[in-house]
Symmetry: C3
Subunit: 464 residues, 3 copies
C-alpha cells in the first residue's frame, strides 16, 4: 500500500519531458512543500486553541496547571516524536519486501533517513522529509493534547508528562504506522477496498479520544462531580470567552489540518477547505438546535463543542464527500456530541471538557461516515494514498456496497483496542507507582499553587 | 463588465505555447488558488477578532451573548451563503446575453455550477469554484458580524439570528452581485470610467455598517445610555485587553482580506499588503493625536478603533494608490472615526463598539477616496476587474477629472439606500412580531443567564 | 558582500533558457514573494504575542498602558521604518563602488527606489521591494517591542513613544544595515569567513534586548521591587493565561520569522522550520528541568520564557545547524535564561518580563553558537547571503577553526556597543528633559487611569 518513492514531479510527465516541463515540475514540488508547511503552522496554532478551550471550561484555581499541560504537550510531543515517533510511524525500510505491520524502524532522531541525500524525499508525493516531519510532528502534539482535557483538575503534573511522552513517542506513532504508514490497517482489503481516513478522524482524534476515555476512567471523577446519590453535578468553567476564542482558533487551525493532509498543492485543496468550513458550521448549527430544544436555552459551551464535533467528524471523509454531504456528516456529529456528553456524565466518566465525546465518539463517526457517504469522482475530490494512487470508492448511500463500511468499522475497532489497551497499561502503571492523582487537599485548593507555585490570576502586589 | 471565463493561464500565452509554458501556467493556476485559500483562512480568523473587540468593549454581564452572536455569525453566515448567497452573488448564467442587475440565479447550495465539470472554474481568473466560494463565504460572515457590535447588550438572540441569516442569504449577496458580480453598480459608466471597490470598503464594510446603523436605530439605545436630559453617558467595556487583542487579530486578518482580493498570486500582492500595513498604522496614529489633543489622554479603545478605521478606509483604494497616499487615506479615516463616534452618540444612535463609525462612515470614505487619490500605473498597482481586465483610472488629485468621484458617490448612495431599506424592513418586521429587544429585567441583569443559561465568568464551584 | 541584483530567476538557467524554463522561473519568483509575504504576516502576528506576554506578566493596574505601548510599537514602528528606516537599512546606491558602513541613503518613504521601475526588485533574490519592505517592516516593529517589557509599569507613555520612534527610524535600521545591508559587520572578514546571523538573534533580538537593558537601567527599578536591604521581591503578573497564550502566538509567528528569512521558497525552508520547532521545545524542556530542580516546582511563567529563549537562540544558527544541534542550542538557551533572570534581579536591573535575558543574553548566545555548531552541507541546509551566494562554514564542533567564532564575537560586541551607546543617549536625554518615569503616585495607582483615562477591567456600570 505504501511505496517509498523518489521525489517525482506531481505533474506526471513522461521521461521525454522538455526542460520547461521539468522546471515547472520543480516549482510545483516547492509549492507543495511550502503549502504543507503553512498548513502545519496552522495545525501548530491549534495548541493555543486546545489550551484555551480546556482552560475556559474548567475552574480558575487550575488554570496554570492546564496551560502548563498544554505547553508541555507541545514541548514533549515534539521532542518525543523527533526522538522515536517519526521513525516508528514512517521509518519503513526501502530494502524490505514488505512494510512492518506495527512500527517502522528507521530514522530515529531524523538520522539516516532515505537512500539519497540527508533530508531527501519523504516518499510522500513531493514532500521532503523536513516538511513531512514538521507536518506530522504537529499532528502528534495535537493527538496528545486531546487527552489533556479529560484528565483536567485532578491529575498529577509529572504523571501527565510521562503519559504524554509515551503517547507521542510510541502509542500514537504506531497507530499512524498502522494506517498512514502502510501497516496493519492499511493492509486490510475486502475486494478492491481499503481503509480511508483522510486527515485523521480515527488516526488522530479517536486515538486521542480513546486515551482520554481510559485516562478519565482510571483517574476517576473530580471530587464533588457526583452527589451522594450518584447524580452528576455541573461544574461550570471559569471563562467562556477563552473557550470560544479557543474554538475559533481550532477552526482556523483545521484549515491546515484537513487541506494540508492532501500533502500537495493541487486542485482538490479548495474543496477540502470548503467541506471543513461547512461541516464545522453544520455541527455548530445542529448542536444549537438540539440543546435549545432539549434545555430551552442555547448553551454556548455546548455549541462550541458542536462546532468541534462537526470538524472532527469531517476530518476522515473530507476528501471524498460532497459539500452537501459535509453538512449531513457535520450535523450528525453535532447531534451525537450532545447525547455523548450526557452519556459519559451518567456512566461516571468525568470528562470536564467533553474531549471523549468530541474527539473519541465523533472521531469514530467520521471514520464510519465514509462507508455511508463517500462519493469519489475524479472531476471533483479524490483521496490520496501515501503512494499517490487515487483511492476510489463510494459509500452505501451512493450504491457502493457494504465492504467499505466493514473496513471502516474494523479500523475503528483496531484503534479502540490498541489505544485502549496501551493507554490502560500506562495509566494503571502510573497509578500503581508514582500515582496519577493529586491529594484531596490539592484538588480542593486547586492544582496551581501546590503543583506550580503560582496562581493564574494573582491580585496586584504593592509593597509600598 | 463581468465575463464568465474559462480557466486560463494568467501568464497570457498565445495558442502556440510550448508544453513547458503550459506546465508553468498550470503551476501558476494552482499557486493562485493556494494563495487565495490562505488569504481566506486569514479572513476567517477575523471572526475571532470581531468577537474579542465587541466583548472587550461591552459589559461582563453580556459576554456570553456576544460570543454566541459572533459564533452564530460564522455558523449561520456560512450556511446561508452556501445555500443561497453564493448563487445570488455570482451565479450568472453564461448563456444569457447580459448579467442580471440585482442577483444571480444559478448554483444554489453549490449544485450545478459551471458548464464544464463540477467545481470547475469560477470565472474569476484562475480560481476554482471551491477556492472562490471559500473566499467569498468568509467575506459574507464578516459582513454580518459587523452589525453585531451595534446591537450589543439589548438584542434578543433569536431575532439577531434571523437577521443574520437574512443578511447572509439575501441582502449582502445582492450587494455583492451589484458590484463584484457585474450587476447594477458595475454597469454604471461615465465616459470610460466604472466603479472601483477593490476589497470591499463599500461592498462589505459599508454594507455591514449601514445595517448596523439601522439596527441600532430600530432597537433603540441601551437603558441608562442617556441621562434624563439626553446627555450620553459612558458605559465602559469590561476587558480592554480583549478589545486590543481583537484589533491585532483583525489587522492580521486584513492581510488576507485585501491582498487576497487580488484573486491571484502576482506582483501586485506585495504592494497591496504594504498599503494595508501602512494605512492601519496611519489610522491609529491619527486617532492617537486627535484624541490626545481633544481629551488630554490617549484613549486606547479609541486608538484601536482608529487602526480599524484606517484599515476599512484603505480597503477600497488599496489596489490603486501609492503607499504615501495610503497614509493620507488611513489618517483621514482615523480622524473621521473620532468625530463620527461623537456624532452618533449625540444623535442617540447607541453603538456600543463604534461599528457604524468604523465600518459605515469610514467604508464610505474609502469608496470615495478612490475618486480623489487613485493613481494606477501599470508598473506598480492595478485593480483587477472580475474579467481580468486592468482597470485604469486616476482621481482628482492626479488630474483625473470628476467622473470617477461621481461614480464612487453613486455607489455609496446605492448601497446606503438598498441596505438601509432592506435592513429596515427586516428589523422592523422582527420588532413587530417576535420582538427585537430583551425585557428591561433581562437587560439590567445581563443577557447571559436569561438568554443562554450560563454566565461568562462563573466563580469556582466546590461541592466539598 | 551585498549586490543589487536585477530580479533573476532563482533556478539559475543560462541565457539560452527555453520559453518554458523562463515561464517556470517567473512562477518561482511569484511563489518566493507570496511565501515571504505569508511569513511576514506571521511575524506581524507576533505583536499580539508580545503584548499578551508582557500584559500577563505584569499587574492589572497597568494593563491598558502595556497594550497601548504594544499597539504603538506596531503603529509607530511601521511609520518610522517606512519614513526612514528602510532607506537607512537597505538603501544602497547601486552607482557607488562600495556599500556605506553605517547606513543607506536612498528610498526614504519608499520613493525613488531602484533603477528599473517603481517597486522593482529589492536586490534580495527574487523579492520585490514591496514584499521585502513588508517583511523588514514587521521585523522592525518586533525589535522595538522587545524593549517594552523591560520598561513596563513605570515609564511615561510619551517618552516610550519617542524612544520607539527613534529606535525604528534610526537605531535598529543602522544595525540592520551593518549586517544584512552589507555594512560594517558584513565587511569583516577573517580568512574566508564572514559573519552569519540568519534571521536575527543578534540583529533583531539582541538589539532589542540591549536597548531593553539600557532602558531598564536608566529608568530604574519599580517601587517596591527591592526591599530596604536590597533583596529582590517577586511581583507576580496578573494573568498567566495571557502570558502563555502569548508564548504560543510568538512560537507560531517564529515560523514566519525564521523560515521567511530564507527570503525564498526553496528546499531549505522546511529544515529551517523544524529547527525552529525543535529548538523552542528544547528550550522549554531545559527550563522546566532546571527550574524544577532549582525551586522544586515547574514555574510556568519561566517555562514560557524558556520556550522563547530556545527560539531566540536558534534564530541565528537556524539555517546552518542540524536538528540535533538545534536541540543542544535551544536547551542551552533554556538553561541560560533561568540564571540570567536571577542575575539581573540581583544586580538591580528590574526587567518585569525577562526581556533582557530572553532576547539580549540568548540573542548573543545564538550568534555565538554558529561559531561552535554550524555545519553547512549543500545537500542539507545552507545560509543565504543577500547576494544569493551560499555561505559555507563550520563551527569548532565540526573542526572549523576559531575564525568563525571570533567574527561572531565581534558582531556581538559591535551591536552591544552601538545599541548600548545610542539607546543610553536617547534614554538619558529623555530623562533629562521630559522625564522617563511617571510620578510615584501614578506608579502606585497604576498607569492606566492617569496616563490613558481608562482601566483595563472596569466593573459593569448600570445607570438604572
Amino acid at each position: 500500500m505504501v511505496a517509498i518513492l523518489a521525489i517525482t514531479p506531481s505533474l506526471g510527465f513522461a521521461q521525454d519531458a522538455t526542460p520547461g516541463e521539468e522546471a515547472a515540475a520543480g516549482v510545483q514540488a516547492i509549492l507543495d512543500n511550502i503549502w504543507v508547511l503553512v498548513a502545519g503552522i496552522l495545525v501548530f496554532f491549534m495548541q493555543a486553541g486546545f489550551a484555551l478551550v480546556e482552560a475556559g471550561l474548567t475552574r480558575a484555581k487550575n488554570v496554570v496547571n492546564i496551560f502548563a499541560k498544554n505547553m508541555a504537550d507541545a514541548i514533549i510531543g515534539i521532542l518525543a516524536f523527533f526522538g522515536t515517533g517519526y521513525a516508528l510511524a514512517f521509518g519503513n525500510d526501502p530494502a524490505a519486501d514488505s512494510v512492518s505491520k506495527i512500527a517502522g524502524s528507521r530514522g530515529f532522531a531524523l538520522t539516516g533517513i532515505g537512500d539519497i541525500a540527508e533530508f531527501g524525499g519523504s516518499g510522500y508525493l513531493n514532500l521532503s522529509h523536513t516538511t513531512f516531519f514538521f507536518f506530522q510532528a504537529v499532528f502528534a502534539a495535537t493527538a496528545v493534547t486531546i487527552c489533556s482535557g479529560a484528565l483536567a483538575e485532578r491529575t498529577k503534573f509529572i504523571s501527565y508528562l510521562i503519559f504524554g511522552a509515551i503517547m507521542c513517542a510510541f502509542i500514537y506513532p504506531m497507530v499512524v504506522h498502522m494506517a498512514w504508514g502502510g501497516g496493519f490497517i492499511a493492509q486490510i482489503n475486502i475486494g478492491d477496498r481499503a481503509y480511508s481516513d483522510f486527515a485523521g478522524s480515527g488516526v488522530v482524534h479517536m486515538t486521542g479520544g480513546i486515551a482520554a476515555l481510559v485516562g478519565a476512567f482510571v483517574v476517576g471523577p473530580r471530587k464533588g462531580k457526583y452527589a451522594a446519590d450518584g447524580t452528576p453535578r455541573a461544574i461550570p468553567g471559569h471563562n467562556i470567552p477563552f473557550a470560544i476564542l479557543g474554538v475559533f482558533i481550532l477552526w482556523v487551525g483545521w484549515f491546515g489540518f484537513n487541506p494540508g493532509s492532501e500533502l500537495a498543492a493541487d486542485n482538490l485543496v479548495g474543496g477540502i477547505a470548503i467541506n471543513t468550513l461547512i461541516a464545522g458550521a453544520a455541527g455548530g448549527f445542529a448542536t444549537t438546535v438540539v440543546v435549545w430544544l432539549k434545555s430551552g436555552k442555547p448553551d454556548l459551551a455546548m455549541i462550541g463543542n458542536g462546532v468541534l464535533a462537526g470538524l472532527v467528524s469531517i476530518t476522515a471523509p473530507v476528501g471524498s464527500v460532497t459539500p452537501l454531504m459535509s453538512i449531513v456528516i457535520g450535523a450528525i456529529g453535532g447531534i451525537i456530541v450532545v447525547f455523548a456528553v450526557d452519556f459519559f456524565d451518567k456512566v461516571k466518566i468525568d470528562d470536564p471538557v467533553g474531549a471523549v465525546s468530541v474527539h473519541g465518539v465523533c472521531g469514530a463517526w467520521g471514520v464510519l461516515s465514509i462507508g455511508l457517504f463517500a462519493k469519489v469522482d475524479d472531476a471533483f475530490l479524490g483521496a490520496n494514498t501515501p503512494d499517490g494512487e487515487t483511492w476510489e470508492s463510494s459509500g452505501l448511500f451512493y450504491g457502493g456496497g457494504i465492504e467499505q463500511l466493514i473496513i471502516q468499522l474494523l479500523m475503528v475497532l483496531i484503534i479502540v483496542v490498541f489505544v485502549g489497551v496501551c493507554s490502560f497499561i500506562v495509566f494503571s502503571a502510573l497509578k500503581a507507582t508514582i500515582g496519577l492523582r493529586v491529594s484531596d487537599e490539592e484538588e480542593v485548593e486547586g492544582l496551581d499553587v501546590p503543583e506550580h507555585g503560582l496562581s493564574g490570576y494573582p491580585a496586584d502586589v504593592n509593597y509600598v
